[in-house]
């Protein structure tokens, strides 16, 4: 009875009213899509970082395994796993200014991120399963360095306000300290502290980290090649061969000052001789 009456009511509506209803619906739909376009996607997980550089195929997988491509300024959420393809790199920036570079074929999960500058508290726990990475600790490493960890299958890297780079496979870690106060590499079998730039350690599965060692040019070059474009050591040998030919007399392609004293101050003097003046 009611249904009939309703139908009747509907059918009794004039044609113009029905068009208006459709028009409203269309407008609402348009507005809805417009809002989607205008606003960033609202995930349940909290945003912790932003993509600030990317190259090639870089994907993020949320906690449920759903993937999305990463581009500049794409937000990164807690529990996201970031995966780079071959010949791909990404750099992400956290809200405390921590920066992480991921190189070719790398998988890293952001297991935990908290940053509460007012309480001077926070934490960043990342898990690198494989690949190459470089980490520069931000404000978090100054206020709560003990909560800043990079976990790998073979060992965990702790930071004291520094920059370090590493290469990870499921049963091996190679990490080199690149500046700052130092890093600490720990697993169930031991701990090593590294405080000299260019020095690092290697860790095999179920073995303690090796004592700090100076990384070879080749090891550093390979790591860097994966991290930033071609990176240092990323060029082929043909260009190296050209070195002996000397400079080509071509137009200015960029100016670089000769070493200032501060640039070479860290190099030290000549073994107890009078300090050699920096070349100008």
């Amino acid at each position: 009875m009611t249904m009939t009456a309703t139908n009747k009511t509907c059918s009794a509506r004039p044609f113009g009213e029905s068009r208006m209803k459709h028009s409203i619906a269309r407008t609402l739909l348009l507005g809805f899509f417009a809002l989607i376009l205008a606003c960033p996607p609202a995930y349940a997980a909290k945003q912790v970082a932003t993509v600030v550089a990317t190259r090639g195929d870089v994907q993020a997988f949320d906690a449920k395994g759903k993937s999305r491509p990463l581009a500049i300024q794409t937000p990164i959420f807690e529990e996201d796993s970031i995966k780079t393809g071959e010949h791909s790199q990404v750099q992400i920036m956290f809200s405390d200014n921590t920066l992480i570079n991921l190189g070719n074929a790398t998988t890293m999960k952001i297991a935990e991120y908290r940053w509460q500058p007012e309480q001077k508290d926070g934490a960043l726990k990342t898990q690198v399963k494989e690949g190459t990475f470089r980490v520069m600790g931000g404000a978090l490493t100054k206020t709560a360095p003990q909560n800043f960890k990079t976990e790998t299958p073979t060992a965990t890297i702790g930071i004291r306000g520094s920059m370090y780079a590493g290469f990870v496979t499921p049963d091996f870690l190679s990490v080199v300290f690149q500046g700052g106060k130092g890093i600490e590499v720990t697993n169930a079998f031991g701990t090593v502290e590294i405080t000299k730039p260019g020095f690092g350690t290697k860790v095999a599965l179920t073995k303690p980290p090796l004592p700090p060692m100076k990384f070879t040019a080749q090891e550093i070059g390979e790591m860097n090649k994966s991290l930033s474009g071609n990176g240092a050591g990323g060029k082929d040998d043909k260009k190296e061969e050209q070195k002996d030919k000397g400079p080509a007399p071509k137009g200015e392609q960029g100016v670089m000052a000769a070493p200032a004293p501060a640039d070479t101050a860290a190099l030290g003097g000549g073994g107890g001789q009078q300090p050699r003046s920096a070349p100008r």
Binding site: R134, G198, G229, A232, K235, P259, G269, Q273, P279
Partner: protein
């Protein structure tokens, strides 16, 4: 009306979305301000503004470049590395970013990485000036990685001495014969002679990697050949080796040493011991030297002169412009096998050096030495006590020097007057030595 509101809302939303995209292609205002600060050398402020611009537009390579430069100049070296890394992620052939990365890694202490970046850019045949600048960086890195250093000097001299046999000024000396004091005539005249001498000082320094310690070994050989008085020909050889610790404003070295002296081609004396010297840079114009030496001497010609010798020296060096003034005080104790050869000595040295135009330099020095012997020699009537006074002056000129200042040749003319006074007339003498010397330093 409601429809219109919804439509307007949708339009605004769309506009906002598009506006974000359009804005991303324009440089944020904070970039201009940051760049302005950067050009003015206000790197802290430049960094703050450029970082704001970067957050707004992280893909902009120009912003990243100047952010990296401002980070570098304001001491945020790690951030500089990450900024230049972003440029290389976007453009792997950005050579300028590689140069900046090389500089940042060099400052951070990652020499190996810096070297790789420098070499990579140099291999692309950049403009000549850039190539040269890179080469200078590479040379500085290579020098810092050098472990072995050799330096020293070789000199050849000719001198004239008007009293090579140290003849006393007095013609008689009082001696003790069985309790009687008797004057004995000294039949010794001053003999003048020409002396040819050679000196070689060679230092080998080994620099430990990433350590403030070095190991220094020094060999010294001195030979003097007399024109006619060959009985005075001397050969001295010394070898010293030990660690050197270089601190922020001091240098401390400890050395074990061995030396031997031959006179007239016969072994005269050998010694072994330890020495320690501390050089403290008080400020830019004052150095302070402190030294201590312990030696055991073995005399081959007179066993009574075998001795343990202890020496302490201390004194400042003042430098002001072309002037340098050196003062040194010393105290020496020698405990010989026989007490009448044991002594207690005080030394004072004052020297003034001045650099002159045309690579000339002059010096003047004063040396005083007071020696008191512990016991009376049975031959004399009282404990021997001497005062020796040297007055020297000279002029030197650098004749040649390599561009890197590592090797040079210089010549020196000097004059020394020595006056020795003693309570035993035998040890009173005068002598004048005029010398010319050529020195090659390497």
């Amino acid at each position: 009306m409601a429809q219109l509101k919804l439509f307007a809302f949708a339009l605004i939303a769309l506009h906002l979305s598009l506006a974000q995209t359009v804005a991303a292609t324009e440089l944020p205002p904070s970039y201009s301000l940051g760049k302005q600060y950067f050009d003015q050398g206000r790197f802290e402020e430049a960094y703050t503004e450029l970082h704001k611009a970067f957050v707004q537009d992280p893909a902009n390579l120009e912003i990243n470049f100047y952010l990296g430069r401002a980070a570098f100049e304001s001491g945020r070296l790690e951030e500089a590395v990450m900024a230049f890394d972003r440029i290389l992620i976007a453009n792997p052939d950005a050579e300028r970013a590689k140069l900046e990365l090389a500089r940042a890694h060099l400052r951070l202490g990652s020499r190996e990485l810096a070297k790789q970046y420098f070499k990579e850019v140099q291999a692309t045949n950049p403009p000549e000036q850039v190539w040269k600048n890179i080469q200078q960086f590479l040379d500085a890195i290579a020098a810092s990685e050098q472990r072995h250093f050799i330096n020293g000097l070789f000199s050849f001299g000719f001198s004239h001495d008007d009293n090579v046999n140290v003849a006393p000024t007095e013609s008689s000396v009082n001696v003790n014969l069985g309790g009687l004091t008797l004057p004995i005539t000294i039949d010794q005249k001053a003999i003048s002679d020409q002396i040819y001498n050679t000196t070689l000082v060679a230092n080998h320094i080994y620099k430990f990697e990433d350590s403030p310690y070095t190991w220094k070994t020094t060999a010294v050989n001195y030979n003097a050949f007399y024109g006619s008085q060959n009985i005075h020909d001397i050969s001295f050889l010394s070898l010293a080796s030990g660690p050197v610790f270089q601190g922020q404003n001091y240098l401390w070295q400890i050395q074990g040493m061995l030396n031997t002296v031959d006179v007239a081609y016969d072994r005269y004396q050998s010694a072994c011991g330890l020495s320690s010297t501390l050089t403290w840079l008080v400020d830019q114009s004052i150095l302070f030297n402190l030294g201590a030496t312990v030696q055991q001497k073995n005399n081959y010609q007179d066993g009574d002169k075998d001795a343990n010798n202890y020496l302490i020296t201390a004194g400042p060096v003042f430098t002001r412009g072309p002037d340098r003034f050196t003062l040194s005080l010393g105290k020496e104790l020698e405990n010989a096998a026989n007490d009448y050869n044991s002594y207690d000595r005080f030394m004072l040295l004052a020297r003034y050096d001045r650099q002159l135009p045309l690579d000339f330099a002059l010096f003047a020095s004063f040396r005083f030495q007071n020696t008191k012997y512990d016991k009376t020699d049975p031959l004399y009537i009282s404990n021997r006590a001497d005062n020796v006074l040297d007055l020297s002056c000279g002029l030197s000129k650098r004749l040649w020097q390599t561009e890197d200042k590592r090797r040079s040749l210089s010549g020196q003319l000097s004059y020394t007057n020595t006056k020795a006074e003693s309570n035993i007339a035998l040890y009173q003498y005068d002598k004048n030595v005029t010398a010319a010397e050529l020195t090659f330093a390497f």
